[in-house]
């Protein structure tokens, strides 16, 4: 079913909107949540909360890209669950992603001012736009979707070590861009 038809079901308060959403985007949302939390039951809870949020938000919201919109909602819910529970549970997925992203953080001595989260999103948009498309997709698949390095390596026909090197270069590129603008997180 097309996105517009699914949104129309939400607008008409037709409960098949949920099943159609699950049919089309369930796997995508599940993989985002699972890659952050790595616990199937918690990931499923996130995805169900995503459907609930979609039901409560549409209308009035009318997402232009339903897939991306649902992905954002899932990611936010999964991060919140991680924040809430990570001291009690071991969520290996996001722990690993955060440890990699530490490479991008500069030493406080070298930077001028602290950047706000919204400003940081704008900065990331600009940085992503400056990347070649293939690198941008790779960065997003690893750090937005949370896809495993070994899976990406397999898909791109390279070794996990080579893929990890490519990711490292991308993180260094982001770090340099942040330093160039004298931004501190």
């Amino acid at each position: 079913m097309e996105d517009l038809q699914i949104i129309d079901l939400y607008n008409r308060r037709d409960e098949t909107a949920i099943s159609e959403t699950a049919k089309k985007y369930g796997v995508f949302c599940q993989s985002i949540a699972f890659n952050i939390l790595t616990i199937a039951a918690d990931a499923e809870e996130c995805v169900n909360d995503t459907y609930l949020q979609a039901w409560n938000s549409i209308p009035p919201q009318q997402p232009v890209r339903l897939g991306a919109w649902l992905g954002k909602v899932t990611r936010n819910i999964a991060i919140n669950l991680w924040n809430k529970n990570h001291r009690k549970k071991r969520y290996a997925g996001m722990e690993q992603l955060l440890s990699e992203l530490e490479d991008c953080i500069s030493s406080p001595i070298t930077v001028e001012h602290e950047i706000e989260e919204r400003e940081l999103t704008e900065f990331l948009n600009t940085w992503l736009a400056s990347l070649p498309k293939a690198d941008r997709i790779l960065f997003m698949r690893r750090y937005w979707n949370g896809e495993a390095v070994k899976d990406l390596a397999k898909e791109y026909g390279t070794t996990p070590k080579e893929m990890a090197k490519r990711m490292y270069r991308l993180r260094q590129s982001l770090k340099s861009a942040l330093e160039k603008e004298d931004y501190s997180l």
Binding site: M1, E2, Y25, V27, F28, S31, V64, R65, G67, A68, W69, G71, K72, R75, N76, I79, M94, L97, L98, S99, L101, E102, C104, I105, E117, R118, L120, T121, L124, N125, L128, K133, R136, I137, M140, R141, Y143, W144, N145, E147, D151, L152, E155, Y156, G157, T158, S184, L185
Partner: protein, 246 residues
């Protein structure tokens, strides 16, 4: 010490442009085969090259016997005069007697909904699913109802190989310039209709880990593509298999 900052960076990624999220969601990298497969393919090509060297004299005999047929296919395409594709729409003004005859033949075939006959060749035929070179990144307008558009690599492949090979193509179906999803009811009905009239049709499914992909695939001769038994309520876009499905 850096945990707070890292989390801030990670969280702020959530709201990056939806274009980039969609781009990553839809991306499916071209698979590079492992070395042993690549070597295996090279050896297989060499093997088939040797076989082809022996088979070529037979092919030429076959071409000369059916020469008119092959020439007609190529001429039909070039007379169409559409740089973006071989439009086979009914109602276009024919430019000469040969084309009138060809269009009459095509119209008769469509009226009876019979499958355009594939070359009468019982030998195993090569299947072309890729063609390198220009046009691989071209953009196309959506086909109008009753029209067919052929991708540039497919056109080039047909010009080079004519009716001597079969073409493995992916078909996108349109209605009023809007593309149907490949797993939609309309496409499934089209697959059923074409199967009934004798086309070799496949419906492929692939899951890349994040979503399902469906492809409506045909394995057809050039003449079957040029005189495609279309439904006038739909427009059709034909791609070589590797352009669309890899």
């Amino acid at each position: 010490m850096k945990e707070k900052e890292t989390r801030k960076l990670y969280n702020s990624m959530t709201n990056v442009k939806e274009d980039y999220i969609e781009e990553a969601r839809k991306a499916k990298a071209k698979r590079k085969h492992p070395i042993w497969i690549r070597w295996g393919m090279a050896v297989a090509c060499l093997f088939f090259g040797v076989i082809a060297a022996y088979a070529i004299p037979n092919i030429f005999i076959s071409v000369s016997e059916n020469g008119d047929h092959i020439d007609a296919g190529i001429e039909d395409a070039s007379l169409d005069g559409n740089p973006n594709g071989y439009s086979t729409a009914q109602g276009e003004q024919p430019t000469n007697d040969i084309e009138i005859a060809k269009q009459d033949q095509a119209a008769q075939k469509q009226e009876t909904e019979s499958l355009p006959e594939a070359p009468d060749n019982e030998e195993i035929m090569t299947v072309v699913s890729a063609y390198g070179g220009e046009g691989s990144s071209a953009c196309y307008k959506s086909p109008n109802n009753g029209h067919c558009i052929y991708s540039i690599p497919l056109q080039k492949a047909m010009e080079e190989y004519g009716d001597m090979v079969l073409y493995k193509v992916v078909v996108d179906v349109f209605n009023d310039n809007n593309m149907f999803e490949s797993n939609s009811e309309a496409v499934k009905n089209e697959i059923e209709r074409l199967t009934e009239i004798g086309y070799t049709v496949d419906f492929e499914h692939y899951n890349d880990g994040t979503m399902d992909h469906y492809y409506f695939v045909l394995c057809v001769a050039q003449v079957q593509l040029i005189n495609f038994a279309k439904n006038d309520n739909y427009g059709y876009m034909f791609w070589l298999y590797d352009e669309r499905a890899k």
